[in-house]
Every structure is written in C-alpha cells, then in structure tokens.
Subunit: 513 residues, 2 copies
C-alpha cells in the first residue's frame, strides 16, 4: 500500500528542495560569470534566413576573463529578488561565429553554406516540453513551501476572540482563512502530480521520437505550453495570496515567503511568456476542434471534443468526480468552440488569419485555461483514485481533489452556468459543498503540509517552523538585524540630535537627504 | 468646461506624488528613530477593562536616545520592500504610563480612576474613516503610476510580426495586452474618484458629528472599511499583473514597478487587514438588509436594498449605464441576501451568533465586494456624466467607465447570471462589447496616462519614460550597476580561476559558499 509519504518521496520533492537551496547560492549566468554562452540567433546563409538556432559562443578570455573583442557584457542591476541569479546584458559588434559552433544535432550547415534542415520540425519541441514539465514541477514545490509556512503559522497564530472574553481561536479556524489556504494546498498537490505525469509523458514520447514516431509530440507540446502558464499563474498569484494571509509578517523576509515568491514568479515570464504560452496551446486546441468538427476521432486527452454536447449536468451534492470532470470538459469544449467560431466568422468577413487571431486573443486564452484546468482535474482525480493507495491517504487526498474541482467551478462559475449546463441551484450547492470541504480538510491540514517534509533549513521561515516557536524565532531574527548592532544608530548624531537641538532646520533636511 | 487635466489637478494627484517621493526618503518610525510613540493598549481601571485606548509614551531618552528603563526597542530586519520605513519591535517590562498621557479628547480617566467614556462610540470612527479614505486615494495613485509605465512601455515595445516578414506591432496593439492594461487603467480612474468622494463625505459627516449628529457615520464607516479593502486588493493584484505585462523588465528595479508594488501592497494589511475590513462592511450590510426586510426605508446609497426584486435585466449592446448599475445593485442585493439568510438559518438551527458569523465568512466577503463594486461603478458613472466636463473628455472617460462596468460583469459573470438576471446571450454580448471597448480606448491610452502628469523623476522608470527612450535608458541603468565597476569581478580570482585551473574542486565549492 502506498502511503502519502511514499507517494511524495517517489516524486523526489525533497531532492528538488535541496537543489533549490543550492541554486540560491550558486547560479552561473552571463552578467559577470560565464565565459561561454549558448546564443539563440537567426541563421543566415546563402542570402536566406533559416530562423532561430542555437550557437555556442565564447564571450570572455579563458586567460583573464576579460570580454573578447567586439563583446560588451555586464550585470543588469538589481531586481525585486533572485539577485543571486547573475542576469546580464550582452552586445555583439561584428563578432564572427565559426560554422562548427552551431549546435547541430538536428539541423546543420555544410561547408559551402548549404542548410540541411531537421528531419522533422517537431524535434525541436522535445527540449521545450522537458523544460516546461520541470517548471510545472518547480511551481508546485514553491507553492507547497508557501502552504507549509502559511498553514503552520495559521495554526499557531491566534486572533480576536469569537465570544467576548473567550479564548482567541487559531486563525486557521476562520472560514475566510481556510478559503485562502486550502484551495492552494489542493493546487500544490494537483500541480505536483501534473508535473510528474508530464515528465513521464515526455520520456515516453521522446523515446518514440528518437525512433521516428512523431504522432504525440504536437499534443504534448500544446498541452505543456498551457500547463506551464497555468501552473506559473496559480503559483505566483497563490503565493502572494498566502503571503498576505500571514498579515504583516508575510511582508518580512523573516517569513521566508518573499524569497519563495521572488524565486518563482519569473516562471510566468521565462521559457515562454504565459500569455504567449496560452495562445500557443489555444492554437492547437482550435485546430483539434476543427478536426473534431469534420468528424475525425481525436485521441488521448483531446477526445472530449468528440463527445456529443449534453444539455444538463447531473452533478449533485455527492460531488461525483466523473460529473465534475464532465462539467470541466463540457466547459472547455464550449470555450474552445467560442474562440474557434469567432475566428471563423472574422475570417469569413474578410479579416486576415493573423488579424483574426489577434482579435480572438482573449477568448483563446480563456479556452486554453479551461482546457488546462480540465486536464489537471482529471489527472488529479486519477492519481487520488489509484487503487494502491492506503485507504486513509486516499480518503484525505480525494477530499483535496474534490475541493480543487469544486472550488474551481465556484471561481469561474459564469463559464459553467453560461449555457445552463449547471444551474443556479447547483451553483448554491457547490458553494455549500466548498464550505463543508474546508471544515473537512481542517483537521488534516497540518499533516498535509508536514507530509511535504521540507526541513526548516530549506524553508528559512521564522513563522513556518516545524516546532511552532514562531514568536521566539521572530524576536531572535529581529535582534540579528544589522541596524541593531548599535543601540543608538549613527543617524541620531548626524541628524536627529542637531534637529532636536535646533541646529538643523527640518526644511533643509529633505534637501540634505 | 472642465478638462481632464483640470479634473485631475483638482484632485492634487501630483502633490500626492511629491509626498510619495519624499516619503520614500524620510520615514520616522519606531525601530531606530522615534523617541515617543502613540501606543494602542488596553485601559484597565478599578479592576475593569475599558478596551483599547491611545497613549503617548516616551520610549527613548531625549538626552542620548538610549531606550528608557524597561523598554526594549529595535529594527525588525529586512522586508520585501519599503525598507526606508523604520518598522521596529517594542517591548515593555513594568513601564508605568502617567494618567495624563491618555489621548483624552473623547474618553478620559479621573484622578480617582473613574472612567468617563466617549459620548458616542462612533466618535472613534472618524479618524479610521479619514485614514481609509486616504488609503483609497493612495491606492489609485500607485495603480495610476504602474499604468503610466506599462502603457508607455507597451507603446514602445514591439514583438512578433503578425504577418511573416511584416513589421512587429507595438505590444499595446495585442488584444491580450489591452486586456491586461485597460481595465486597470479604468480602475485607477474609478478608485481615484472614489477616494476623492470619500474624503469629501468624511469632511461633511465629520462636521455633522462635531455638532452631535451621528446619523451617517455608521454607513460611511461600513462603506470605508469595504472600499479600503476593495481598492487595496485591486491595486496590489493589478500592479503585479502590470509588472508581468512588462515581461522580464517588470521584474527589474529598472522598470520602477517593484518599488511601486512593494510600497502599496502593505495597504492590504495595514489600517485593518482586508478580510477583516470586508467582514466589517458585510456586518453593516446584513444589518441593513434586516432593516429593509422589515419594510424600513434605507437612506443614501443603501436604498437599493429597498428596490423590488426584478427578474430580468434590459442590458443590451448600447451598454446603458443605468442598466449596468441596476445589474450591479441587483447582484449585490442578492449576495447580501445569501449571506444574511445563511446566517439566519444557522442561528435557527442552534448555532451561536459568533459561530454563525464565522460559518458565513466567505459569503459575507462576497457580499461586501459586490456592494463596494456597485458603489464604485455608480460613483464613477456620476463623475464621468457631470455636465461641466468638456465633451471630448466626457466621451473618453465614459468609455473607460463603461469598460470598468462591463469588464467587472465579465470577470464575475457567475454572480450576474446565477439567477437569470442576465442570460447567456447577454453574457456573450458583454464579452463582445468588452473587446470592442479595448479597441475604442487604444488610441487614447497614452493620453489617458500622460494626463496623470507624473514626472519621470517620480516614476523612476527606464521603461516608463515620457520620451519613450526605453532601451537607451535601460542600457545606461545597467552600466551603473555596482557589479560593473570592475570589468572582471573579484570572484573570478577567488573562485572561477582556481576552479578552471583545477586548483579548486567543484564539489568543495558549495561547502565553501
């Protein structure tokens, strides 16, 4: 039987955490450190542009680390966080790159300048899918860390007696606090399992590709683009919500939350900006929709587009997962149809395909989000219903999964009741069930975050400590602040004292500062 | 006739900006600077607790700035931003505060310990309302600054040719980029006008209060609590969205966006944590609902709770503002009813009022948000329909106001179509109109942000410059980074060089760091 601990250990969450810990200390990048770079640049040959390719280029001398002739390189200055990452600028002025510096596994260039393209353009998708799967996993881990801190702190922190004169409850007992934490805890698990499945799918499909079988790579590529954006968006917004759920302490570096957030929010931007990724996913979906519309049978996860359109959902307060998955797939299919038919009608009215695509950007993004959400709900459900899970573990994970599904419907209710697939009564039931699930998860919340098994040295959080000694830790942290090295700070002598003695005028102060 | 410039100048936006600029440099607070504090503490007398009162307390010597006996005080360490704010910790050990140090304008204590309470407990509301009105205004100004930067940058930045070989469009021409910026630009104006009206209401109602008239203060207090939370939430989430809309540059301090965000996101927490504020607002609303249910006529903005419940909205593609306001008020009234009836049925089933309140936390917050949104939409509409506005100004502001209203419906569509007040066809129309309004606002977008008249020295943004010379400024900014003082950084000699020469093993490196 598979315990929760084992389920998580299988996925190497702590290994990743260790990497995170090290990464914060040692990141080699272009600003001041690298002497060679992989440069993405247009390949021009025989007067023709063959698009972006990767070249290995030496930028600094191996002897004394000075930039090579024609190269300007340096640091780009401070960022909101992640300052251990040595981001830099790089400028080339008439720098020649030898032909053999092209990374030529798939496409190459002959001595005479003849360009030999890759056998299949989809070969380039492999690495992108791999990196995006890693990002999905990374997002879930950052979100999990923030959940650990916020859940533990909320179980320690007490606030505002409910009855006058009574004991102040732990803030985690407030429904509004549960609403902030528990859906994100569910999301951390959901995205975590998603990242794992994506990696396994990548390995399987990549092996096929090496054998020349390219059938599934386009589907995985479209999905991976969307899931990268979806995970990064939930994670970035979620950690910020959790930070605020810790009140003023969340704003302090003492909580560890700012560092987690600044570390992962760039995932919305790097390796394909989120909106661009959603649009890439949506283009794949719209194509699939067109194929389904002509009666073609779609394979794998896309097959829901072949389903006959049902009028009404049977979802009731038992929250049957197959009813919920059906609701998500129905909604995704409807939103893909909205984007696709808008595209078609614009093009029929004479708008070019490129313009039409831009004029459908917002509905396309909505379609992609709905598709990703349907995928994650279905995947999460399949994991928590594995029959090798220990029954008590299965029960609590199934509750989390139900919350994930039902909370998502409540959040984007309009999309689900727009065509009457769910009605107002079902919407009321969904709100009631969401609130009941909060109460059901409450007793297991601390155990669910402890299960991630992040040691204190990785969380680096005074308020998320395993032993719950939050206030002692905060006080110790404050005492180590550099400003506390002197009881009376130097600015007292230079500014405050002369000001109080009338030797410095307040008006002249702002000019001096 | 009132021009846009005049409308904005009347509200002193640039004055505020100047204050912001100075504030970042000179903030006196408890950590290392203050020698006196206003302390909020329980007042105990004759064995009875009279609740929280404000006391003025000296904490440091006026002679040498050392903490007085029994007082521990110091800095609390680094935060994610706003580090010029001298936040500190403060601990008292057997410190006696003289009786006359109580700030005793409204309530006081006699020499013999007799407590004289305030004539009316609502007197204490005044300052809270005033400060919250200031926060609403402050939020709008931070959001406006972020809109200036993002709009200008999006008009300079070009990305991805729409047609192969064609010119890359300005990113502001992408519908998805418009979706990120324009609703927040509308919100900046909406919240800006809201803060102004709140201040004027405060002045009027406070003058009444000085005369002993307390009728309207409870209503304003409830509303101000909600509007503070609503403005801070939109602003904090909005600036972060705008930051991400600037891609990687938004993450760099070169953009100015991190500083604006870290400066204002604490507004979600200080002066009443947002969720607590929404709940405070909701408690007032539920009370008002109960009064309306007994047939009592409500005054002012609350009077919509007296409206007979209509079944269907007449909203069509002319986007009549009165139809939109009606839809917002209908939805707010329904959500207040949901919270109130849930409360009642819980209490009927034997749950205590305190427990029932907690078990309605989430629906209460939803009700408060809907109420605040209805208020802001109505107020925004009344400003942009003032008949002293220059017609061209009125036209563009009315478009912004329509976008604000229609975008809000689309965002929280479920609440509006839940009971069929709007139907699926109207929802489709709303999406179409939202996209059309983006296109309508596009030509005026840069002018709408220039109108805020923030000088470059306040924005401190390479990418939000008035002259649009983004890339030159970024390059200059990068060159001034302290790491660029030396072409070859010291770490090359201590680490990289020995590593490359085999004199340092990679494995021992992480241990050394």
């Amino acid at each position: 039987m598979c315990t929760l601990q084992k389920l998580i250990q299988d996925l190497n969450i702590t290994d990743f955490a260790e990497q995170f810990y090290l990464k914060e200390q040692l990141i080699i990048s272009v600003g001041k450190t690298s002497n060679h770079v992989v440069l993405m640049a247009q390949l021009l040959s025989q007067g023709k542009c063959h698009g972006i390719h990767a070249f290995i280029v030496q930028i600094r001398s191996e002897k004394d680390h000075t930039p090579l002739p024609g190269i300007s390189v340096g640091d780009i200055g401070n960022k909101i966080g992640y300052n251990a990452m040595d981001n830099g600028f790089l400028r080339f002025d008439n720098v020649r790159i030898p032909r053999r510096n092209l990374l030529a596994r798939y496409s190459r260039i002959e001595k005479d300048g003849t360009y030999i393209p890759a056998k299949n353009p989809r070969l380039a998708y492999g690495t992108m899918v791999f990196v995006r799967a890693l990002i999905v996993g990374g997002c879930s881990k950052s979100l999990a860390q923030a959940c650990v801190i916020t859940t533990r702190y909320s179980a320690v922190r007490r606030q505002t007696e409910i009855r006058p004169g009574g004991e102040e409850p732990q803030v985690i007992d407030y429904q509004t606090q549960q609403e902030k934490i528990f859906p994100l805890l569910a999301a951390a698990y959901a995205i975590f399992f998603t990242g794992d499945v994506m990696l396994k799918e990548y390995v399987r499909i990549n092996a096929d590709m090496e054998k020349g079988i390219f059938d599934e790579m386009a589907a995985l590529h479209g999905l991976a683009a969307g899931l990268k954006a979806y995970s990064a968006e939930i994670t970035s917004n979620g950690i910020d919500k959790l930070r605020r759920a810790c009140g003023g302490h969340g704003y302090s570096h003492a909580s560890g939350l700012p560092k987690i957030w600044t570390y992962i929010t760039p995932a919305c931007t790097y390796e394909g900006e989120n909106t661009v990724m959603y649009l890439q996913c949506a283009r794949y979906l719209v194509k699939q929709y067109a194929q389904a519309a002509t009666g073609q049978k779609l394979v794998g996860f896309m097959s829901y587009l072949n389903n006959p359109v049902k009028q009404r959902s049977a979802l009731n307060d038992t929250l049957n997962m197959s009813d919920m998955i059906e609701a998500y797939e129905h909604t995704a299919a409807r939103l893909i149809k909205v984007a696709a038919t808008r595209m078609q009608s614009l093009m029929k009215s004479g708008v070019s395909v490129e313009e039409a695509r831009n004029m459908c950007g917002v509905p396309m993004v909505s379609a992609a989000k709905a598709h990703c959400e349907a995928y994650v709900v279905k995947l999460f459900s399949s994991v928590v219903n594995r029959n090798d899970l220990e029954p008590s573990v299965a029960r609590v994970l199934q509750t989390l999964c139900k919350l994930y599904a039902v909370y998502g419907i409540n959040e984007r209710l309009g999309d689900f009741i727009h065509d009457g697939f769910l009605d107002g009564q079902q919407a009321d039931m969904i709100l009631n069930q969401t609130l009941s699930l909060f109460a059901e998860i409450r007793p297991n919340a601390v155990a669910l975050v402890d299960a991630f098994d992040y040691p204190d040295k990785i969380l680096q959080s005074c308020i998320g400590r395993y032993d719950g000694r939050v206030y002692e830790a905060l006080y110790e942290y404050a005492k180590t602040s550099p400003l506390n090295k002197q009881e009376v700070h130097g600015s007292y002598y230079t500014t405050l004292k002369p000001l109080m003695e009338g030797k410095l005028k307040f008006d002249s102060l702002s000019a001096r500062l």
